[in-house]
Structures are given as structure tokens and as C-alpha cells.
Symmetry: C2
Subunit: 195 residues, 2 copies
């Protein structure tokens, strides 16, 4: 069954990357609801390598501020919450819980760092996309951003060195007046082929 047009609009067609935020709070319970949806999205060997820090207190926002590109500071300080979407380079230690029917931990533990990093980055990025779509499905707007200093964020929020930041995503209820004009997308034939 296809979802109705209103749902497809909300998830994809009318959803926009927001830069301004209404003065409407995002309760902790709603952040839990976002996670309780996104967690079901598939990752290789159910490895679920994403780790997410929802930055919402003024103190934590100040910790984030020096890492932000200049153009991302005001909107991030104003957002009800900013998700640091990150990935765990030791994700494999959770595999006995996540993929219990075989020894999947041994597919990664002690293996070349590139193999571990690629799986963590791919899976963590898939889960970052699930977070965006899950937030929209719950009526939230998103403002994902790559413009920040990963090393500064990692030092401030993940000092043990095992978790690496991937991208940031402001969360809240967007102010449509602050949207930029929408950019075009590639046509099917520019991006896809059926063979």
C-alpha cells in the first residue's frame, strides 16, 4: 500500500532543510520517539553503529558553538535541539546483542581499521538519514549540516576517541519565512539507469 500524498509530501516532497525555528519546544519524549522509529532502519549485520548526542542545554550549545561554521552558529543556537550524528568505531562490541545467532563480532574486531571505519561510517550515515525521515514523520523539521569542525566536536563531546562525529542536524519546528529557495534535483536519467 502506498502512503497517501500528504504523507509523501511530509516525508520528502514538501520537506525542506530549515534555517529558522519557531519558539516551540521539543520535549525529551519526542527525541525518544525519533530514536524509537529510526532504530528499526536496516544496517549491515544489524550493527547499528550510530551514536547520537542531542544537544539542547545552553551549556552544551556553548560547547558546540566554537566548532560551527560561521553561517551555522545563529540557527544552531536557536534550534530546540541539535543532534550530533556520530558513529562508534567499536560498534562491534554490541554485536553479541544485536546479531546474536552468530559470532559477528569476529568479522570486525581486530580487522583492518579501514574495514571497521567503512562499516561504521556507512551504517552511521544510513541511520542519520533514518533520523531525518523519522523526525519528519513525527512532525518535526530538520536542518542537517556539514559545516563544522569534526575534530573540535569530537574533542568536546567524544573525548575517548572511539566515537566520531558525522554530521549535525538541528531539530524543531521550522519557520517557513526563513527557507531558502529550493534547489533542483537531478533528473532520473542523470542519476539512474534501469538495465
Amino acid at each position: 500500500m502506498k502512503l497517501d500524498d500528504a504523507a509523501l509530501d511530509q516525508l520528502f516532497r514538501a520537506a525542506r532543510t530549515h534555517n529558522g525555528w519557531q519558539d516551540r519546544p521539543v520535549p525529551d519524549d519526542l527525541l525518544h520517539q525519533v530514536y524509537d522509529l529510526m532504530k528499526w532502519g536496516p544496517t549491515a549485520a544489524n550493527s547499528c553503529p550510530a551514536r547520537i548526542v542531542f544537544v539542547r542545554s545552553p551549556e552544551a550549545k556553548e560547547k558546540l558553538r566554537p566548532a560551527l561554521a560561521a553561517g551555522n552558529v545563529a540557527k544552531t543556537m536557536a534550534a530546540p535541539a541539535t543532534a550530533i550524528v556520530a558513529y562508534d568505531l567499536e560498534f562491534y562490541d554490541k554485536l553479541p546483542k544485536l546479531y546474536p545467532h552468530t559470532d559477528a563480532r569476529s568479522w570486525f574486531a581486530g580487522k583492518p581499521e579501514e574495514h571497521i571505519r567503512t562499516n561504521a561510517f556507512r551504517g552511521g550515515t544510513l541511520q542519520g538519514a533514518y533520523l531525518i525521515v523519522a523526525a519528519r514523520a513525527l512532525g518535526l523539521d530538520c536542518g542537517p549540516m556539514g559545516g563544522f569542525d569534526n575534530a573540535l566536536v569530537d574533542a568536546a563531546f567524544f573525548p575517548d576517541g572511539k566515537v566520531k562525529s558525522n554530521f549535525l542536524c538541528n531539530l524543531g519546528y521550522g519557520d517557513p519565512a526563513k527557507l531558502h529557495p529550493r534547489n533542483p534535483r537531478l533528473d532520473f536519467g542523470e542519476a539512474c539507469a534501469i538495465v
Copy 2:
């Protein structure tokens, strides 16, 4: 507005990675519909680096076969379509169309390969997740897979070397009888923090 429970189930909570496929075709038009939803998902600088080959003809399936891990052969040969989700290392050549208000091409062209590859892989992976959720939103089931030889797929489908395979995703209408038991996910506190 939150989507209704049936929609949240279809997108996330009840959606599963499928291994068996009903004998029900997936018309080309539906693959176009999947793309026309997923294309709206956000990527850095709207770079849209994903490239997708929908493998559906017997000839193209045979080209894919030797690259598949043994456990993925039968289900992939039986699937109505298999998406090769890939990313374009020369994505920046589309930026004058995709991000026309500034010279975003210069942010990547001629820059270190690692910078280009990271953006292509991150954006292409986000778009792969959008593909999965878009397909589910249109009533399709997905069977994403990492078990294949990337180099063989690249040689067979992307011989110019500019496009690299990321993951595969079977598409069709799944056979619930062939589902594996669902694996657990991490609890909120194992994967997330609110600070």
C-alpha cells in the same frame, strides 16, 4: 503533524529486510516513483552524489551474479529488481545545476581525493537510506545487502572508474514466510544521550 501509526509501522516499525519475493512485478514506473521521492532528501550542498542502477533484466542479473556472496545469490536472482546504490566521485560536475547560487564546484574539484570521497560516500549513503524509506512508503519491500564484491560490481557496471558501488538493495513485494526472526536494537541510552 505526526503520521498515523499505520504509516510509522510501514516505514519503520513493521518494515523488515526481506529474503524472499512474491511473484509480483515491479513496473519501471514504480522505480521512477521511488527516485522521484528519494531525490528530495537532503545532502551536503545538495550534491546528490548517489547513482543508482536498477538491475532487472536476466542479462543484467547474470552480470551481477558472480559478484554476490553465496548467501545472496538466490534471493537476488529472484528479486524483481536489485538496486546498485553507488556514488559518483565526480559529483561536483553537477553542482552548477544543483547549487547554482555559488561556485560550489570549486569546493571539491581539484581538492584532495579523501575530501571528495568522504562527501560522495556520505551523501550517497544518505540517499541510499532515502531510497529504502521511499520504496517502503510506496508499498515496496527492501532487501539491502553488503555481501558482494565491490570491485567486481564496479568493473561490470561502472567500468569508467568514476562511480563506485556502495550497497545493493533488492526491491519487490516480500514473502513474509521467508523472514528471519527480528534482531534487537540498542536501547536509547546505549546509543543516545540528551545533554
